[in-house]
């Protein structure tokens, strides 16, 4: 499998604080890698090194087989970036923003309307971005990231703080691009999003990657599948957790059922957040 992004022992410090500590990973062609970590874990610094805004102080990065230190312009011509900050030109309209960025890629004729339609902004194409909601701006940022038909997409917290409709629209665009064969690097601290979108996830904390694997593997290997039962006991509601791997589980269910009145019972899988906490001792959000 072609390694579209390859990071080898990359590191970056701000003054004396090591933000990214010699991490290595790769992303295969057409794959989505979810980069999970709490705020300040090193996600944005990593993405900045991958897209060329920061030069790694140690290690090496190659994107599409080219070294970022040597062929950055060629790489940047083939990537799309969606930033966490809504860095659009607010005094310009949606269509003006897209046309301006297309011109920077040397694209003279661009079907901006089709891109805006993709992110449900066609009606607002001539409105100034300043009048857009946060969700509309984020959708326009996604459209901007696609302006040069990129082979690789870097998405930094693309659904952070969005309403469910806008978040869904952004997720649909991500999956559509994956279908077309794009390779996607996605940073997020939303474990649900990472679970839904990513082929593999990497946990980053304090500048180091703790683990990289598929969400299924992680849940299977490190998670605990349980059955939760709630029943009434002397007028009180009691709750009990039973492991699905426990051979005596059905015996215990029968026992509860014979003695008490069962209110409800359901299975629960370990979440990525549970596994993240297990690895890092920290919660994902905040």
């Amino acid at each position: 499998m072609e390694k579209v992004i390859l990071a080898e022992k990359i590191a970056y410090s701000y003054n004396k604080t090591l933000a990214v500590d010699h991490i290595s990973f790769h992303i295969d062609k057409g794959e989505i890698l979810g980069f999970l970590g709490p705020n300040g874990a090193g996600k944005t610094t990593t993405i900045k090194m991958l897209i060329g805004l920061l030069a790694p102080q140690d290690g090496k990065i190659s994107v599409l087989g080219m070294d970022t230190a040597k062929e950055l312009n060629k790489i940047q011509a083939q990537i799309g970036v969606c930033f966490e900050e809504k860095n659009l030109y607010e005094e310009m309209s949606a269509i003006e923003n897209l046309k301006f960025f297309a011109s920077l890629f040397g694209i003279k004729k661009i079907d901006a309307a089709a891109l805006l339609k993709k992110v449900n902004l066609l009606v607002e194409k001539r409105q100034k971005v300043a009048s857009f909601s946060k969700g509309m701006k984020q959708r326009l940022m996604m459209a901007r990231a696609l302006i040069n038909y990129p082979k690789v997409l870097f998405l930094d917290e693309p659904t952070d703080g969005l309403d469910p409709v806008s978040a869904r629209a952004v997720r649909d665009v991500i999956l559509e691009e994956k279908e077309k064969g794009a390779t996607i690097f996605l940073t997020t601290h939303d474990m649900m999003e990472a679970d839904k979108l990513s082929d593999r996830v990497a946990f980053i904390n304090e500048g180091k990657i703790s683990v990289i694997d598929t969400p299924e593997n992680l849940k299977h290997e490190y998670g605990k599948r349980i059955l939760k039962i709630r029943y009434r006991l002397d007028g009180r509601v009691e709750e009990e957790e039973l492991s699905l791997e426990d051979k005596d589980m059905s015996k215990r269910i029968d026992e509860i059922n014979s003695k008490h009145s069962i209110l409800d019972m359901h299975t629960e899988e370990a979440t990525l957040e549970d596994i993240f906490i297990k690895f890092t001792g920290r919660k994902l959000e905040g």
């Binding site: 930033f83 030109y89 890629f105 040397g106």
Partner: protein, 345 residues
């Protein structure tokens, strides 16, 4: 090249869609143009004097009436002379009467009479007194003008003010370009540009080009409105304006990079604007300035502008000033580019 032009085009759109910047830019140009055209276009070189002689008017009338640069009005009595001064028909009035056989001279001035006119009247009165008493001063007096004699073609005050207006119009660009750079950094739109094939040198070149284009355009528009451009002055004016534009761009780079908000930019920009304006007062109040003004770079723009526009000098007369300004521009521009590059990487 196309990428640089795209950024310049975007920058110009962005600057003029900022209502505050657009308003202060064009308001400054048009308000100064209006002030210029409202101010007197000629210098009143005639000195109007009223005379009353109780006796012996015939003896001096011909001599006084032929005095160069003096408009003489004769009064038939002292009260009429006072009325002439009071109504400002004359700037000063001189009365020659006899008091108990002794000649008496009174100089009348109004509260509106400028100090220098009052002093000139005093000198004329004393000179007349010596003549009338039969003891003219035993001194030979010659007047020699070094440089072009501007008698009859004195530079109106508004023409001096034009230089002040041009420098003020250029200074407004501190806010426009400074704000443009500051916003690109604060709002991280520069990051969005720098992840496209646009390199940092291309980005910075575009900003320099935008600044020079805007400053030159506004300066040339102002020059037309302020009657600065003529066949003889167009080339030297554009050369000096280019140096001025470079100065503004260089300072704006530093201002835009160090300012963390529009308020900060306004504070720093106003400070620089005031400092840059100070040398223009040397034109309006000649002689009343300290040596340190020559260290202010705008002094080396203002002096050549004044010389070329108002006195017909040529660029080669100001090579040291242009060299100083050019060197200053290069140093500050390099500093501005350095700090901007540091903020972008």
């Amino acid at each position: 090249m196309n990428r640089i032009l795209s950024i310049v085009k975007k920058d110009v759109i962005q600057i003029f869609r900022n209502r505050f910047i657009a308003v202060i830019t064009f308001l400054a140009i048009f308000v100064y143009a209006i002030i210029f055209h409202v101010m007197p276009s000629k210098v009143e070189e005639m000195y109007s004097m009223g005379f009353y002689f109780e006796k012996g008017r015939e003896a001096v009338e011909e001599q006084i009436s032929e005095e160069e640069g003096v408009e003489v009005v004769w009064a038939d009595d002292e009260n009429e002379l006072k009325k002439l001064v009071e109504d400002e028909d004359v700037q000063v009035g001189l009365s020659f009467t006899l008091l108990e056989g002794k000649p008496k001279i009174v100089l009348y001035t109004s509260t509106q009479t400028p100090e220098e006119i009052r002093e000139a009247g005093d000198v004329i009165a004393r000179e007349a007194a010596y003549s009338l008493s039969g003891y003219p001063l035993n001194v030979e007096f010659d007047e020699v003008v070094i440089g072009p004699d501007l008698l009859g073609e004195q530079i109106p005050f508004r023409n001096k003010m034009r230089i002040l207006f041009v420098v003020m119009i250029l200074s407004v660009e501190f806010f426009a370009l400074g704000n443009l750079i500051s916003e690109e950094i604060r709002k991280k739109t520069a990051d969005a540009i720098l992840v496209t094939p646009v390199s940092i040198p291309e980005f910075m070149t575009a900003k320099v080009a935008t600044g020079i284009f805007l400053t030159l355009s506004e300066g040339i528009l102002a020059a037309f409105l302020l009657n600065i451009i003529s066949f003889d002055t167009v080339l030297p004016f554009v050369v000096l304006l280019f140096l001025g534009a470079l100065l503004v761009v260089a300072v704006s780079f530093v201002l835009g990079t160090i300012s963390r908000s529009f308020l900060g930019l306004t504070a720093y920009g106003t400070l620089f604007m005031i400092v840059f304006m100070i040398p223009t007062f040397t034109l309006i109040f000649p002689g009343g300035y300290s040596f340190w003004i020559k260290a202010v770079p705008s002094y080396h723009l203002i002096i050549p502008l004044d010389g070329i526009i108002n006195y017909g000098y040529v660029l080669s007369d100001y090579l040291p000033e242009m060299a100083y300004l050019g060197s200053f521009n290069i140093v500050v521009l390099l500093l501005g580019l350095y700090v901007l590059r540091r903020r972008l990487t």
